[in-house]
């Protein structure tokens, strides 16, 4: 038999892994982004409003990264990083979403009025 005999613990582990996979979806806000913040090396270098379409570039660790804002969404158009993950991420439009380009130390974060969620704090 190739398949090991499953035990109760296996199902508990699979359930826990699936559950922790669903949690971020539940807490995720579906608000539309109002602005996009651009961080390089952890420092915020720009904040761009979502409503105006524009194409601009910022200086990442490896050179120029070209970003495009279109119809309330933002994407990376050009980057000279090796794996182009930031470009493959495509457009992001909801508050809380992000595009990361590790080689360029760049992160783009979509922010909304309530990017932290519905509540400021919950007291028990």
């Amino acid at each position: 038999m190739i398949v090991p005999k499953p035990k109760v613990g296996d199902f508990v582990i699979i359930a826990l892994v699936l559950l922790s996979g669903i949690l971020p979806w539940l807490t995720r806000s579906s608000h539309r982004a109002e602005s996009f913040s651009i961080y390089v090396n952890g420092k915020k270098i720009a904040q761009i409003p979502a409503e105006r379409d524009t194409v601009f570039s910022v200086n990442g660790a490896l050179g120029k990264v070209v970003l495009e804002v279109k119809g309330g969404r933002i994407r990376v158009v050009r980057s000279n990083c090796p794996e182009k993950i930031c470009i493959k991420t495509g457009y992001i439009s909801s508050a809380g979403q992000s595009i990361a380009c590790v080689p360029n130390r760049l992160i783009v974060v979509a922010e909304g009025k309530n990017s932290r969620g519905k509540y400021d704090a919950i007291l028990h």
């Binding site: 038999m1 190739i2 296996d10 199902f11 582990i13 979806w25 974060v109």
Partner: protein, 176 residues
């Protein structure tokens, strides 16, 4: 050095060689995201853990990451830091769960728990060192699905290898 510890060292080296080859070849294979590998080198680590002992399994994980990163030229890079933290956490979790093997958990659970720990640790360490953690949380759902698939496959292969002559000689020669 007793004969048994010399034997263990020899088997440890052989398993490390297997883990290294798989780890390095895997680095060139296409995958959903660069931080989401298949984790087949954990087959060798799990075999080492069951046949030689838990300490050896953890040592296999650390050695695989360090030596593999030297060969790939990634030593001390951000990817290496994420990888070594994740490997430490994953091997520790698997060693812990292995004590309950056969009683309340099988290789499937152990392997999936290890895979998810590896991916989740990477996300959290990246969140602490390089980004704000709340921007990376959306990576968790993908990781959870991927770890169930990859972890399951690793469990099946490890279980199949354990049934072969290689693993049984390993177990009988080393003797627990």
């Amino acid at each position: 050095m007793t004969q048994s510890s010399i034997r263990k060292l020899a088997y440890f080296s052989a398993l490390l060689a297997v883990a290294l080859v798989i780890w390095i070849v895997e680095d060139f294979l296409p995958r959903p995201a660069p931080w989401m590998k298949y984790g087949f080198s954990y087959i060798a680590i799990l075999l080492g853990m069951t046949a030689l002992g838990k300490k050896y399994g953890i040592a296999l994980g650390i050695s695989r990451t360090v030596v593999g990163s030297i060969i790939l030229g990634k030593l001390l890079s951000p990817a290496f830091i994420l990888s070594i933290c994740a490997t430490l956490a994953a091997t520790a979790v698997m060693a812990l769960l292995l004590t309950g093997r056969g009683k309340f958990v099988s290789l499937i659970g152990i392997s999936i728990a290890g895979a998810f720990t590896h991916l989740a640790t990477q996300i959290f360490v990246a969140g602490i060192l390089f980004y704000k953690i709340e921007y990376l949380l959306w990576l968790i759902p993908v990781s959870s699905l991927w770890s169930i698939i990859a972890g399951g496959v690793v469990a099946f292969i490890t279980n199949a290898v354990e049934k072969t002559a290689i693993a049984s000689t390993l177990q009988s020669k080393v003797g627990k």
